[in-house]
Point group: C3
Chain length 175, copies 3
């Protein structure tokens, strides 16, 4: 069974102040778009770099998640360290994800440039940083999702198929 990791990085969610709305939003979108069955692996952790790194490593190396999405912790505030944790555990960075997500968010808010979200590869897992609010999660994941299944193919992960009527993913002919 394919596993997909969903990490809600938030001091307040980890303290139980908030419900895991961001994590639920991610899984709802993936269930809407993907026809390939998958099992979500959830984590709700505070904005602590070592803890984020540890969770990313566990989900990549032990749970063998094909995709790991994080929500939150990508802004300029002192406690926002999700991109640093992501870069620390990845062998390769994919700057195009952050560029496209910021470009997309700029259509909605000029403060999109404050997001430092990025993406990268650890082993056979693709890690993608998303924002914290469900509405912004949809806008961002929708923008980059068409490239995600082929990226996972290229790093040796499982083949993900989508419901083409609502989410067209792209693979070169013959792939």
């Amino acid at each position: 069974m394919i596993t997909i990791g969903v990490i809600n990085v938030s001091d307040r969610a980890a303290a139980g102040v908030y419900d895991d709305e961001p994590g639920k939003a991610c899984v709802a979108l993936l269930r809407e778009w993907l026809t390939t069955p998958f099992k979500p692996v959830y984590a709700i952790i505070p904005d602590e770099q070592t803890q984020i790194e540890h969770t990313l490593k566990t989900m990549a190396d032990e749970d063998q998640c094909a995709l790991i999405v994080t929500t939150g912790g990508t802004g300029p505030a002192k406690r926002d360290v999700t991109p640093e944790a992501t870069a620390a555990v990845c062998q390769k960075m994919l700057p195009g994800f952050g560029e496209l997500m910021r470009h997309t968010s700029l259509q909605y808010v000029p403060t999109a440039i404050l997001s430092r979200q990025t993406a990268g590869i650890r082993g056979q897992s693709l890690i993608v940083n998303l924002p914290g609010r469900p509405k912004a999660i949809r806008e961002n994941l929708e923008a980059v999702f068409p490239a995600i299944p082929y990226c996972i193919d290229l790093i040796g992960g499982p083949r993900l198929e989508s419901n083409e009527a609502i989410m067209k993913v792209f693979r070169p002919k013959g792939a």
Copy 2:
């Protein structure tokens, strides 16, 4: 009183060959857009990385500038080292600023991609690299300014208010 740092990085300006047109252009724009009073702190220094780093540190740590803008030194030439100095003193980088400024400048000149300008956070100061020519300074600062006051809020700096009739800044509801 809020302080804002303005550093003109230029061998020729530092040698007295040129007047500080870029620094004056920055302050004129900020006075046009901001209704919150502020005191500019000026420096004119050569394209020497250690000197740029030292000036950035002093303006952030001692002068407690909420915002520090640099002009010049962002190109591909050997003496252009402003982005390197900025990265060396910042705890966090904000790639979205450089992306948006280059994207904006591309509307005017195809050589916009040669600019390596970036932005980042040191303590409670936001540092933003700008080009050297007054016309390009306006085009660039105008593009990113709507996100600057909220960025300064998020890093614990003072609240900056703008003249909404001519420069609309963005804060999420309730911020």
Copy 3:
């Protein structure tokens, strides 16, 4: 005589499985656009970081290439290491090239964000990563080429002139 380096990074091309279509495509484009005569220096090497670095250094330091273009090896797969090799040998990175090339490729394929291609300066050589397929090479090189001759001017390289009827390059007035 001006030299321009063209490196085809590909395990299969280096093993003789493929012909050097990408390298030929690069030189054909440069001959189409440039009126200044130049001598191409070719290399076809596998996706090995140390070998790519060595070839880049030789072409920059010994062959004194004004421009070095690489093709291939910029994706997320394990063997794709061209951007890492480029960053390792450059004194300055030019993020605007990768941003514009990905932005351009996004008009054609959503998987453009998987490309990690970048550009940078080593001494008096500009290094630019390009994709591997001839069609994508044209789309990408066409997008950034107008800025290349002025970039080479700024790093002290030779003056390249283009056929303005088919490829308009940009230099500021007086440059």
